[in-house]
Amino acid sequence: MSSRRSSFRRKEKPAFDRFKDHCRHFTAFMFSNVGIILLVTFYTIGGAFIFQAIEIFEYERLKLEKPHRFIARNFSGEALTRIWDLTSENISFFDPRAYRRRVNDVLLEYQRAIVKKQLKGPDVEQWSFSGAFLYSLTVITTIGYGNITPQSEWGKLVTILYAIIGMPLFLLYLSNIGDVLAKSFKWIYSKVCLCRICPGVAKRRIIRERRKMRQLARALQLHDMENARGSSSYSSSNSTSTSNSSSSGDYSRSSKHSSSLVDVPFSGSDSDIEREIRGSTDEITVPVTVCIFVMVGYILWGALLFGRWEDWNYLDGSYFCLISLSSIGFGDLVPGDRVITADRDKVEVSFILCAVYLLLGMAVIAMCFNLMQVNIKNNIPCKKVTTYSFTGASRPQYSSCKARIQGLFSMQKLLGRSLSYKRILLFTVVGD
């Protein structure tokens, strides 16, 4: 801000200085945005190497120290001897049905043992580099699929430390990238949807909107007048001092609101419109519906992408995307899980795809929250005014309406608080 002001003050700045300024801005931009992306990426890659090393090292060490724990219990051998015993016991009376029932019991126990072992978790082989990369990513984004978990004690400890450092870093990334994305999205929105790319269309559009606003404001004023007349007559008939003072106070307040509302559209002139068209895109508010569309579109796009890649159907794909992006992360569907036996290269690529999708998706959601917050802050007072002046000639109706307005007011306060997007992000990711 200050730099801009100073540049305004001294217009005769030499070209070299301006170039230097540009360079400086560019460097700052690079550092703030690209730098944080690099930081997050390197942190994740480093984490991947660390976890991989720890898990494999600990596995080897434990294998050397306590070999008895790692010799797989020979379930099939046990089952075999038991069946043999059964067979040799029952060979005297040769009843196939009884025999099969007994064998079935043995098999059931054997099956249960296998299921338990299989569900208990995969082995150290899962800690390939790409698996470890996805693991550290799910730790810092707090998704936590849980398809791969550290088995060794050091792995668990390092995970805790890694999460404590990594999550603030990721938050920084989100707030930074969310800001940048929000700015660029606003720019695109202003150029494309509000037709600011060609000034003539935009001008006509703005004039039309202003006319509408003016009509609305006039209607508001009329309603206000009637409202005031009605309430004053009501209070005089009731002749209680409190209600009188309150209604007059309310009336003055509401009229003040509406007058301010009327003032704005009347002052519209050509130069004003020009300025609005040329002006910076910061003042534009993107409607909430557009934000929601962007989020839904991103999820559907992910569903399409993963559906093509992982052979999931669309429901599974969108379910996976929503569960991942909201950082719930059940881990029942994980990319690269199904093809893990089929093709090694495809697994690597799908891990990378998933990582990029997640990093970008969280930033997009941050952007949407950022835009929605601005929108809600701007919108709710307006709604308040309209409800205020359109309602009620009679007292009870009026008071109920007032309660509703106060509800709105508190909601706005709450939403304003909750939708401050950094907090939301902080919240979404860490529990803030």
Binding site: F75, S76, L80, I83, W84, T87, I91, Y99, L107, L108, Q111, R112, I114, V115, K116, Q118, L119, T138, V139, T142, I143, G144, Y145, G146, T149, E153, K156, I160, A163, M167, S241, T242, S243, S245, S246, G249, L315, D316, Y319, L322, I323, S327, I328, G329, F330, G331, R395, P396, S399, S400, K402, A403, Q406, L414, S418, F427, V429, V430, G431, D432
Partner: protein
């Protein structure tokens, strides 16, 4: 002033003119008014906090019932598959026994082993398709469904139980997109309330532990500046201690119940409170207990010689599961609230610190600038005079 007062009254009176007039008719009645205001504040307080809490609980319960209804309709094809496989296997074993008939043990063993290996591979395949050895009715008991709903709306997502029907998945998506904002509301509310009460507690303790209030007053008198009541900010270390003790309590509790090691228990608490939720440790959800109970019951019915104590033990474990799930529910909700509280308190401190730091930096910059000007000013002046 009357305007402001009126604004406070109107939502509560809600159209009752009589009460408003009664308030206005006795303006001199100060204590009564204060008591009334206190009461009103209390009621609104209860409404907002308890209302949101109740909403969360009701939402979770409704979701639990819905998920139970949806997921219990899931026809588990894998269970039939496993049964068929087992029948097949025993049939094969019988045919082997018939063929070799105990005469050639080596040959028999070889063949049986081959069959068993085959069976094992088949089972592993079925498990990859999602067989967990339990029927949907056993998995989706009410407490478990409640825990599932909570893990969805708090975004922990343990993943030890997941919806498997398409309807269940779709409903999860909708449920999450409504439930998460609701939870955020609860979280912010809870954080504010807890922060306020903790601050109150801290302030009263602070006042108590300050043993020399008169000394302070003397200092103030000597200084000649009457210090107004200094705003006490809860230091962030206190918040961290609170969180640390909460985690420690959880660690000891879960370690005792679940017979986890302390490290595992600590790991579970941390990953849950950070919302990572890997789901490799979940309290009250050991893998096959329900199936074990059923098996023991069957065994007891078939075989008189089996130990009834074992069954009782298993049943008690299974019953414990539900209470453990409920307690985990409470622990998680409260823990999230505590995290929110710490966030609220620490934000305040960080803000103050940042302001101080900014001022420091500004002063420092100014200082260096002055010094710089002082050092470099004279040669530049000389240069300038030379130039002209």
């Amino acid at each position: 002033m009357p305007n402001k007062f009126q604004r406070k009254v109107s939502p509560m009176s809600g159209g009752g003119v009589a009460r408003a007039s009664s308030v206005s008719s006795s303006p001199s009645n100060q204590p009564r008014k204060r008591v009334k205001r206190c009461c009103r504040n209390f009621v609104t307080f209860m409404c907002t906090q308890v209302g949101v809490g109740a909403l969360i609980v009701i939402y979770a319960i409704c979701g639990a019932f819905a998920f139970m209804n949806i997921e219990r309709q899931f026809i588990d094809g894998t269970a039939d598959q496993v049964l068929e496989m087992r029948q097949n296997c025993s049939q094969q074993l019988w045919s082997i026994t018939e063929k070799h008939n105990l005469i050639d043990r080596r040959k028999w063993s070889e063949d049986t082993n081959a069959v068993l290996r085959d069976y094992q591979a088949q089972i592993a395949d079925v498990i990859k398709q999602g067989y967990v050895g339990r029927s949907p009715e056993q998995i989706w008991s009410f407490p478990a469904a409640l825990m599932f709903c909570l893990s969805v709306i708090t975004m922990i997502g343990y993943g030890n139980m997941v919806p498997r029907t398409p309807w269940g998945k779709g409903f999860t998506v909708i449920y999450a997109s409504i439930g998460i904002p609701l939870y955020i509301l609860y979280f912010l509310n809870m954080g504010r309330v807890l922060a306020r009460s903790f601050k109150f507690l801290y302030r009263s303790m602070h006042d108590c532990t300050q043993e020399h209030p008169h000394l302070d007053r003397l200092d103030a008198l000597e200084g000649g500046v009457s210090l107004p009541r200094k705003k006490i900010i809860v230091p962030s270390t206190a918040c961290l201690w609170v969180i640390f003790f909460y985690v420690l309590t959880g660690t000891v509790m879960f370690a005792n119940w679940e017979r986890w090691s302390f490290l595992n228990s600590f790991y579970f608490c941390m990953t849950s409170l950070c919302k990572i939720g890997f789901g490799d440790f979940v309290p009250g959800a050991s893998l096959t207990t329900a199936a074990d109970v059923n098996a023991a019951t069957q065994k007891l019915q078939e075989d008189i010689s089996a130990d009834p104590n074992e069954l009782a033990q298993l049943q008690s474990v299974a019953a414990d599961q539900h209470s453990k799930l409920a307690i985990n529910f409470v622990y998680m909700l409260l823990g999230m609230g505590l995290v929110a509280m710490c966030r609220n308190l620490m934000r305040e401190e960080v803000r103050v610190k940042l302001r101080e730091m900014r001022e420091d930096a500004k002063l420092c910059m100014e200082d260096t600038r002055l010094r710089f000007v002082g050092c470099c000013g004279s040669p530049r002046d000389g240069y300038d005079s030379d130039y002209y």
